[in-house]
């Protein structure tokens, strides 16, 4: 079992590829890996409960840890206490922690 850090900087309203990336996260978990999906920049936009946030809830329900950058949320006026189901706010330090731990890391 390996550990992965998938960083998603794009939002699904802007790019169809985001759905493919969410699927990669769930596929990796299905293969027995531990996966964090870290949303940053416009990638946090679907973390506000809305039309596309069900996809994040699905990803979280599949066993992916879904985190959203606290600064990116605040920058966009998204309340950290009112996020889509399965999404938690987290500091960007988590990314550096996981990089330093040697997680296989990809930026999308």
């Amino acid at each position: 079992m390996a550990k992965y850090l998938l960083i998603e900087s794009r939002d699904p309203f802007d790019s169809n590829d985001v759905a493919t990336y969410y699927d990669l996260a769930t596929d990796l978990v299905a293969q027995g890996n531990e996966v964090t999906l870290f949303l940053v920049q416009n990638g946090v936009l679907p973390a506000r409960p809305g039309k596309r946030s069900d996809e994040l809830a699905r990803v979280a329900g599949a066993g992916v840890e879904v985190l959203a950058d606290e600064f990116s949320l605040r920058e966009r006026g998204i309340a950290a206490t009112r996020l889509a189901e399965g999404v938690s706010a987290a500091p960007l330090e988590v990314v550096v922690d996981q990089l330093a731990d040697g997680r296989k890391a990809m930026w999308h």
Binding site: T20, D23, D27, K104, M106, H108
Partner: protein, 126 residues
């Protein structure tokens, strides 16, 4: 250390650069001794299509004399020992048939990418 370069964005500045800069850097890294492979996904699967022709551009009297040859550049990785993977579902979505592609590619389904990543120490999504 085994690394996988993933190319997804396609035709970004390829005319000005006369290359795809990630296909190019894969060649350069291999030349520097890297154990590197390439995965084409998303729009970048189009790089493997034969018959691309970007020749003939001119800006006043300034002509481009060396247009990019992206399919050839991808094909040249194979004899250098670079495994080149391509995502079949992304080809099918774009209406690209296998017969239109260069030789030497290793085909993977979208659902097989997770397992493929497990073969590499580093995965770099360019």
């Amino acid at each position: 250390m085994k690394a996988l370069n993933i190319v997804e964005t396609a035709y970004r500045a390829t005319i000005e650069e006369q290359d795809d800069t990630i296909v190019w850097i894969t060649h350069a890294m291999k030349g520097a001794g890297a154990d590197v492979s390439l995965l084409l996904r998303g729009n970048a699967v189009n790089y493997a299509v034969k018959g691309q022709d970007a020749s003939g551009l001119a800006f006043g009297e300034a002509r481009q004399t060396r247009p990019p040859e992206l399919a050839e550049d991808v094909a040249k990785l194979v004899p250098k020992g670079v495994d080149v993977y391509i995502v079949d579902d992304d080809l099918a979505d774009r209406g690209i048939e296998r017969g239109e592609l260069i030789d030497g590619l290793e085909h993977v389904g979208r659902g097989e990418i997770a397992a493929l990543l497990g073969k590499f120490d580093q995965v770099w999504h360019w």
